[in-house]
């Protein structure tokens, strides 16, 4: 049996809490979230494997059909952004935040002087980092399958940045649900929200191949512009118009999701 050593002095001279900055708090929370990722590989490995699977299968199924119909068209390069969005959408630490709520650890954080916004921003910062990393193996697979980037190495970095930014914009919905409900099941199902947006767009064929009604729906679907922005970097080069539209679509979705998740955070942490 272990016992207390009553001879241990409680020497706390000079140890006093100090005020910390917003950036310090955010990086501290982000560091914790990132350290947890290797312990939660089930949250990041399956999306990448699913992306690999659909990338390979879609290319194998539709490549000859599309490349036969459109001269000089690389269906592999066309499919890669779809695979990337499939891989990074919904990847977030929101389920871990639900566990923090359930385990009471969020209360432990709230009892410290940490800035409340940093709790959420730290998680989002970790998410964008993870999403950027997850993009890399899918890109590598694309290169192995013959994809060449017309926009060059800088275009690859912009591509990764846009994909990660989209992941972050979508993650906001997960955090909103996590903080509002504290229900892990509800958070897991947020990915289902993405499905209609992924299919009612140019995920599988170019815009001109869509039926008129689907083309109309795709016009209003932000994922259309994100895919076109990403594809332009691989297929065309620096097509600023497409890139700007893609970034604008991400910004609009992010504005909505971030408003929702920060409102949910305020609701969760206010002294009700």
């Amino acid at each position: 049996m272990t016992t207390i050593d009553a001879t241990i002095p409680l020497d706390t001279v000079g140890i006093r809490p100090r005020s910390t900055g917003f950036v310090h708090d955010t990086l501290t929370v982000a560091g914790r979230a990132l350290r947890a990722v290797p312990r939660d590989l089930e949250g990041v490995i399956p999306p990448v494997l699913i992306a690999f699977f659909f990338f390979v299968v879609n290319v194998a199924t539709l490549e000859s059909l599309t490349e036969g119909a459109i001269e000089g068209f690389s269906y592999t390069a066309f499919q890669m952004p779809t695979a990337i969005l499939l891989g990074v959408t919904g990847v977030s630490r929101a389920p871990a935040l639900v566990l923090d709520v359930q385990d009471g650890y969020l209360d432990r954080l709230l009892l410290t002087p940490v800035r409340r916004g940093s709790i959420l921003l730290g998680h989002l910062l970790a998410d964008i980092t993870v999403a950027a990393v997850l993009t890399v193996p899918i890109l590598v697979l694309g290169f192995v399958l013959g994809v060449r980037f017309e926009a060059g190495p800088l275009g690859i970095l912009v591509f990764i940045g846009m994909a990660a930014a989209w992941s972050l914009a979508f993650a906001g919905f997960g955090y909103a649900i996590a903080l509002k409900t504290g229900n892990p099941g509800a958070v897991q199902s947020v990915f289902l929200l993405f499905f209609p947006f992924l299919f009612l767009t140019t995920s599988y064929v170019p815009r001109e191949q869509l039926t008129p009604w689907l083309d109309t729906v795709a016009t209003w679907n932000p994922v259309t512009y994100i895919l076109e922005g990403l594809r332009s970097l691989a297929l065309v080069g620096w097509q600023w118009d497409d890139i700007a539209k893609g970034l604008a679509a991400i910004a609009i979705v992010a504005a909505i999701s971030m408003s929702m998740c920060f409102a949910a955070l305020r609701g969760r942490v206010k002294q009700q």
Binding site: I8, T12, P17, D103, G104
Partner: protein, 335 residues
């Protein structure tokens, strides 16, 4: 004497129910204040208001001279809190959790190293610190939670039922830690408990709360003195009213309370009074099952004030007598 915690008419309403009702407290620096009451009395709601997790519906409170509602950040830097349910992340290691806590309070790396060294010895967690918290026993989690509350060397420590669910040895260990923090560091400790012996053993002063209201406050000795010097408990098998009537006029008896099959008789000198009490009950043809003489407990105070006993929902705790805990404490202190 400087005050560490002050509340005035502090109240908290949840929909139609009042959890805390116009609570007035003055807790001095360096004091261990025991907040005693049954489940649902309002203890945890009071703690959550004082540690800024919950806003008051009305009234106000200050901790270390900072208002809990308007200056929560200043309050948070001065307090440490171990809530009723341990608040830990099971996927972190103990060391990671403590280091994160230290960073959030702005401690430097060298301060954190030193603090971890001290705290791990203090709460006796040792080698387990590098293991995931998910692998810890309940007692280890409780001790790590206490260490997390102490990382930044707070002025005021809130312990919300710190020994609920612990075995007698772990409970004795927590009591020792609480005493040391108070005596060696002069830390003010606000301790809520439903265990009478815990309040009796640790607290300089005790506040008894029932139904959200503070019903009594004082040192354990003073509170028990209000009941009488000694208490005779008669378990009876007949009409309690007849027993009360029979005892009321005895000169040795200060007060009589009857509840179900139990009559609590407060007397000045138990040894002298127990004979006349037995005779009076016999004359009144009250069927006596047993007659016990003891000194008053805080439960007797609670019974005297509210007409009910503090119900202990922890079966382990119910089976743990105060004597048992004292012997465990003695054993620990002897090591």
């Amino acid at each position: 004497m400087n005050t560490a915690i002050v509340t005035e008419a502090l109240s908290r309403q949840f929909d139609d129910s009042t959890a805390v009702d116009r609570l007035d407290l003055q807790i001095h620096q360096g004091e261990i204040y025991g907040f005693l009451g049954p489940n649902g009395a309002g203890k945890s709601t009071t703690v959550r208001m004082l540690c800024t997790l919950l806003g008051p519906t009305s009234g106000w409170a200050t901790v270390c001279d900072h208002d809990v509602a308007t200056q929560p950040d200043q309050v948070r830097t001065r307090i440490g809190v171990a809530l009723q349910d341990v608040a830990l992340d099971p996927k972190q290691t103990g060391a990671e959790l403590l280091r994160l806590q230290a960073r959030l309070y702005g401690l430097t790396r060298s301060e954190t190293d030193k603090r971890l060294d001290d705290l791990t010895k203090l709460v006796d967690i040792g080698d387990a610190l590098d293991r995931r918290i998910a692998t810890y026993s309940g007692g280890m989690k409780r001790r790590l939670d206490l260490a997390a509350a102490l990382v930044h060397n707070p002025d005021v420590l809130f312990l919300d039922e710190p020994t609920t669910g612990l075995d007698p040895v772990s409970r004795a260990r927590v009591w020792n830690e609480v005493r040391r923090l108070n005596t060696q560091l002069g830390m003010t400790i606000f301790l809520t408990t439903q265990y009478l012996e815990e309040a009796d053993e640790l607290a300089d002063r005790v506040g008894i709360i029932d139904g959200g209201r503070l019903v009594a406050e004082g040192t354990p000795v003073d509170l028990k003195r209000t009941v009488g010097q000694d208490v005779i408990i008669a378990r009876i098998g007949s009409d309690a009213d007849a027993a009360v009537h029979a005892l009321h006029d005895l000169p040795e008896v200060q007060n009589v309370d009857a509840r179900h099959d139990e009559v609590v008789i407060s007397v000045v000198d138990g040894a002298t009074a127990i004979g006349p009490v037995a005779i009076a009950l016999g004359h009144a043809q009250v069927q006596i099952r047993d007659l016990t003489l003891r000194t008053p407990t805080l439960d007797d105070v609670f019974l005297d004030l509210t007409g009910a006993r503090i119900e202990n929902h922890d079966s382990d705790a119910q089976n743990t007598s105060s004597d048992e805990l004292h012997s465990e404490l003695d054993a620990l202190e002897a090591v």
